[in-house]
């Protein structure tokens, strides 16, 4: 096609959301008084005007085929008011004004294979990244991990059994575009990249790759007479940061790419300040199609938390109260030298006191 025939884009940016909002929400925008929770998966919001709006939340497979999308729309039209939204964790929310529609909507969703829940103190759906389905650097799959885990955690999604809400996330590389929450299941590489020296100089902008390394372990080198890059394997932390800018530095390995589990990440300012998640388990095999080892550890942590934490304690609040030694004791997970941080700022994570629980 000649350039002259190309269509100029309309740079409209982010569209106006009010046009897609339920009329009751539009009318009461900024005027909501309180909400309550009639049953798992259902929220009722009450406005100062006296208006009410119901939300029915359901888990999906996130990667939606057109048939599934149309089914969700069909249910939205027949049983709800044609207005929906998606949460940050890819749950779908149907918004309805009439309480009488709530139960038929739940029944229709359940009948069609969707799972109603994910509100209040439940384990809501895992948020995840792209994985093998679409990413260019993934160490593992994402959708498959979520499917496997949610099959096992579905009862916790549908109920209010946890001390507080639980957000689980995954990330399929160590850049971690996902992978933060109360429990994060993230890729952990354990060996330095394997370099294809025939390709490096043609494919990679070598100074950028050198600059990308967090520990300055990469340097330019001539290998077999060819300009390439080499890695100081004693310094290398196996993070894989060099792999995206330089695909011939393959970091993923069928055996040595593992999973780590981190807990206690909390985005909210409620009670304490927001926290990042901390390492609790690693060396977990990257074991498709169902990753049973990772799921077993997650279930163990959830079980311990459920039995031991007080109401309203998120996982980080709970561990802050009982202390890390007791967390490892209660979950039976090993505490190793790898749990002691040595990255910048690590001293702040060391115990400089006699505060010890016996």
């Amino acid at each position: 096609m000649a350039m002259a025939d190309m269509r100029e884009p309309i740079e409209s940016g982010c569209p106006d959301g009010f046009q897609y909002m339920h009329p009751v929400m539009r009318k009461n925008f900024g005027q909501w008084k309180y909400h309550d929770d009639p049953q798992p998966g259902v929220l009722r919001h009450v406005a100062h005007s006296g208006d009410e709006i119901y939300t029915v939340k359901a888990g999906t497979q996130r990667i939606l085929d057109i048939f599934t999308l149309r089914k969700l729309c069909e249910i939205g039209d027949e049983y709800a008011d044609g207005y929906i939204r998606f949460t940050i964790r890819s749950n779908i929310e149907f918004i309805v004004a009439d309480e009488a529609k709530v139960q038929p909507l739940i029944d229709a969703l359940t009948e069609a294979g969707f799972v109603v829940g994910g509100t209040k103190n439940s384990v809501t759906s895992l948020s995840h990244t792209q994985g093998w389905l679409h990413c260019d650097i993934p160490g593992t799959d994402a959708s498959g991990v979520v499917k496997s885990m949610m099959d096992e955690l579905i009862d916790e999604f549908k109920a209010w059994n946890m001390p507080n809400r639980v957000h689980i996330t995954t990330s399929c590389c160590q850049i971690n575009c996902g992978g933060q929450g109360d429990i994060a299941i993230n890729v952990q590489h354990t060996k330095p990249p394997k370099i294809n020296h025939d390709l490096v100089s043609n494919v990679c902008e070598r100074p950028s790759v050198v600059a990308r390394c967090p520990v300055a372990a990469i340097r330019p080198a001539l290998v077999d007479g060819k300009p390439s890059l080499e890695v100081d394997e004693k310094k290398c932390i196996c993070c894989g940061a060099c792999f995206p800018p330089c695909p011939p530095m393959q970091i993923n390995d069928a055996e040595h790419t593992k999973l780590s589990i981190w807990v206690g990440g909390n985005h909210s300012n409620a009670r304490g300040k927001p926290t990042f998640q901390k390492l609790v388990a690693s060396g977990i095999p990257n074991n498709p199609p169902r990753w049973p080892e990772a799921t077993a550890i997650v279930k163990n942590i959830l079980k311990t938390y459920k039995e031991d934490a007080k109401d309203w304690e998120r996982i980080n609040d709970w561990i802050e109260r009982i202390g890390w030694p007791r967390f490892f004791e209660k979950t039976g997970l090993p505490f190793t030298k790898f749990h002691i941080d040595n990255w910048r700022g690590a001293r702040a994570s060391l115990n400089a006191s006699t505060h010890i629980r016996f």
């Binding site: 740079e11 409209s12 940016g13 982010c14 569209p15 106006d16 959301g17 897609y20 900024g30 909501w32 008084k33 909400h35 888990g59 497979q61 990667i63 939606l64 085929d65 057109i66 599934t68 149309r70 729309c73 939205g76 207005y83 929906i84 949460t87 940050i88 890819s90 779908i92 918004i95 799972v115 994985g131 679409h134 990413c135 260019d136 799959d141 498959g144 979520v146 499917k147 496997s148 099959d151 579905i154 160590q174 933060q180 950028s208 967090p214 940061a241 993923n252 990440g265 985005h267 909210s268 300012n269 409620a270 009670r271 990042f276 199609p289 169902r290 309203w312 990255w343 910048r344 700022g345």
Partner: protein, 421 residues
């Protein structure tokens, strides 16, 4: 239908169990879709994914694909195993910006799905981790056709690469009693001021805006965005004492003391003998816990605005960073208020574009140059709300002390005069 299917014994395992299966969904496209093109793409995709499951490796590589007039917004994917799985050899994703808080009508969802069925794989995700609608899987040629079609009815690409990225907002004032801000206005004022920086990647690295209506920060904005805008209030929280008494009557005094009063991080609450609640609003840090437990009794105050934190990001390259308070409180009521918000974002992005190293996030630059240099660069005065505690190291040159102290007293005097005026 006589299409020959790739065997997928490992993926078949993901069709078992009660949670909805994405594998079954892709198989529906392969087996039941009327368009042969979509059937073949789905079959090829399943074949390549099965190969990944068998070998535990990914087989997509990036490249350069964009639509006419833009430099970003597409995630190009070319298969490295196209010989074995040729029908999905080009499998690009279009990132499309959703409205703030991800509201849709079913009519609009259907329309988007119809367009994607015409030009793409029939697979989509609401939403990716950055917040985009992800239309997953099409050829270089059809990328342009699909964009042209949906752009005509109001949808635009998001960011990909070193650019301003698609923003995210919580459910917000449209449905939540905790929200202290108009997330829609904030979100669109900010990101739509930077459409050029969204579509034509030319910054040191990515830059993300996220908006949460209250300090519960449901968008993880402090952890995950370069520019976090969070609703808050600075007058007294509202207490409905009758509702407090109703909670006490329902849950018991011990429960309220244990779960509300004792969990207050600054000991700002007291449950009185008559089952009313006293709040020391000067000590309250607006953490939201007591409001979350008793939403019917406790509400944010009326003098609302936002707190702005800068520099949050995930691991690469120097480790996870939380955002830092740069604006403790800002009113957002008038058009001028919004203009000054956008100007602050412009100042920050300009300063970072000038001073950030290649592939350095804004927060990493602040870590490298120090918060004070950053504040001076963007013209924001220091404030004790920006720190957990003052410096504890004496290793600093302080021969400008008197001038700096004078600045503080002058600013305080000006604030007092302004408040009195």
């Amino acid at each position: 239908m006589a299409d020959k299917h790739h065997e997928t014994p490992m993926l078949d395992e993901l069709e078992k169990g009660p949670w909805p299966s994405f594998v079954s969904g892709i198989k529906r496209l392969r087996d039941n879709h009327e368009d042969e093109r979509i059937r073949k793409v789905a079959n090829s995709l399943l074949g390549q994914l099965e190969h990944s499951y068998e070998t535990r490796k990914g087989y997509w590589k990036g490249g350069t694909v964009s639509v006419f007039g833009y430099g970003g917004g597409i995630i190009p994917r070319f298969s490295e195993v196209a010989d074995a799985f040729p029908e999905s050899k080009e499998f690009h994703t279009l990132r499309v910006q959703p409205p703030p808080a991800n509201y849709y009508t079913t009519d609009m969802l259907r329309k988007l799905g119809d367009s994607w069925e015409k030009w793409g794989s029939g697979l989509q995700t609401f939403h990716g981790q950055t917040g985009n609608i992800m239309f997953i899987g099409t050829t270089t040629e059809n990328t342009q056709h699909f964009f042209d079609e949906i752009n005509d009815y109001g949808w635009d690409l998001g960011g990909a690469g070193p650019c301003v990225r698609t923003a995210m907002s919580c459910v917000g004032s449209a449905r939540c009693e905790m929200s202290c801000a108009n997330e829609h206005a904030i979100h669109r004022h900010l990101v739509n001021n930077f459409t050029d920086d969204v579509h034509r990647p030319a910054l040191p690295y990515k830059f993300k805006f996220k908006v949460s209506g209250c300090p519960n920060d449901c968008q993880n904005s402090i952890e995950r965005s370069d520019f976090a805008v969070i609703g808050t209030w600075r007058d007294d929280m509202k207490v409905d004492q009758d509702e407090v008494k109703a909670y006490v009557a329902k849950k018991g005094r011990e429960y309220i003391i244990e779960n509300v009063v004792n969990r207050c991080p600054t000991a700002a609450l007291c449950l009185n003998d008559d089952d009313t609640l006293t709040v020391n609003n000067k000590d309250c840090v607006r953490c939201m816990h007591c409001l979350n437990v008793m939403p019917k009794a406790l509400s944010p105050g009326d003098d609302r605005g936002v707190t702005i934190l800068i520099g949050g990001k995930r691991t690469l390259k120097i480790g996870d960073l939380m955002g830092t308070v740069v604006v403790p409180f800002k009113k957002l009521e008038t058009e001028e208020d919004y203009e000054s918000l956008v100007e602050l974002a412009e100042e920050i992005i300009d300063f970072w574009a000038e001073n950030g190293l290649e592939h350095e996030r804004c927060g990493e630059m602040i870590e490298r140059i120090g918060l004070v240099n950053f504040l001076e660069g963007i013209g924001v005065e220091v404030d004790p709300h920006m720190v957990n505690n003052p410096r504890q190291s004496s290793y600093v040159r302080m021969d400008g002390w008197d001038e700096e102290a004078e600045k503080w007293f002058q600013r305080k005097a000006e604030e007092k005069a302004a408040a009195g005026a």
